[in-house]
Amino acid sequence: MKDPRDVFICRCEEVTLREIEEAIEEGYTTVDDVKRITRAGMGLCQGRSCSKVIARLISEKTGIPLSDLLQTGYRYPVRPEKMMVLDNDGEGDE
């Protein structure tokens, strides 16, 4: 059987469990910090499938309550957009 630590936690950026655990061991103990250092959660789905898992992993390793970890810093835009849309605020349609 495959090494379970090679399992991807972030499917979009292909970040493994091993990489995430290492980041946590190095002291990155918020979802945002783990994201920054491993790129997990920075892909096209923006952490949709991995954020919760990463929070759980941090909680298991550090004892930090899950509810504290799940309050990640949400920032706009909450959808990935091309830079050009920032420049062309329409007057409104219809």
């Binding site: 059987m1 495959k2 090494d3 379970p4 090679d6 399992v7 991807f8 936690i9 499917r11 469990l17 949709r48 499938s49 991995c50 919760k52 898992v53 899950l66 509810s67 799940l70 309050q71 949400y74 920032r75 706009y76 835009p77 909450v78 959808r79 957009e81 091309k82 050009m84 849309v85 920032l86 062309n88 605020d89 329409g90 007057e91 409104g92 349609d93 219809e94």
Partner: protein, 363 residues
Amino acid sequence: MMDREIVVIGAGPAGLSAALEAARAGAEVLLVDENHKPGGQLFKQIHKFFGSKDHQAGVRGIDIGVQLLEEAKELKIDVWLNAEVCGIFNQNEVWIVRDKERSVTVRAERIILATGATENAVNFPGWTLPGVMGAGAAQTMINIHRVLPGQKVLMIGSGNVGVIVSYQLLQAGADVKAVVEAAPRLGGYGVHTAKVRRAGVPFYTSHTVLEARGKDHVESAVIGRIDERWKPIPGTEIELEVDTICIAAGLTPLVELAFAAGCRPVFSPVLGGMVPVHDAAMRTSLPSLYVAGDISGVEEASTAMEEGRMAGLSAARSLGHIDDATYRIRYEAVENRLLALRSGLFGQKRRDAKEQIVSQSQG
């Protein structure tokens, strides 16, 4: 910048119901959805919903969806599809990107967030192989696109989604090889579980999936028993010949917009995780923001519709479109229906969880 009285974000059952209720009350409504078709997950639900006649019992999700859309058309509600809400500023400016290419800002007096929930992942070796998918993905393929994603299926999770989709896979002609459930007891509605059982599908409780095997696609899956600490017990592995593995491991509310806008969160493990605090009228900690449906806690389509009605009603009333007496009557009607939907073995748990959330909104 354009102005609208009420902007509803998400055109699933909750959002549609909210928009309809608010529009009926006379409010000027804009309904936006990031997808190219409205309806959220409603059009995948080909099974009959539970409840009394009031709750559309005996009616299929697809038919309810058609009905809601027709009503939206009749009321001439403005609907923007392919419209992604990227942010909410100052609690009333909605930044929308249309067709992935142009920004529009809409100033809204009230905003109703009905963004739903997303399927949870289970990270076992091989889970990224083609053939491993969310149960919702399989449901989309068979019920909307009418193609079978595979012939031999392993279902992970025996909750409502797991057993309903298993049943629908059988109806579509697939061979469901097994349903595995990590807990010692099955977790879904008895009616659907019984149907799947009668079809001869084995259920493995206290089991989990250990690995998906295959080169370019799933060819087999290994399942095994787990102990009380959820650890796999060596020697209990079973390899199943499957080409599809569906993950039905619960849903998590899509709350990013709500929290980025400043809504106060509360942790509700029963209802999927972090959710925006809201009162019984579905208003969040920010007076101009309301929530409805799975974003406020994962339940079902029927509760989503009722919550949508509640949010639409409350938002419209706060703008003066409904007088207090009328509001009270309609509010109570919705509340009674919600109570009825939150009864029974499964419903009671959800009801308690909802009451916990609402209690956080006072003070």
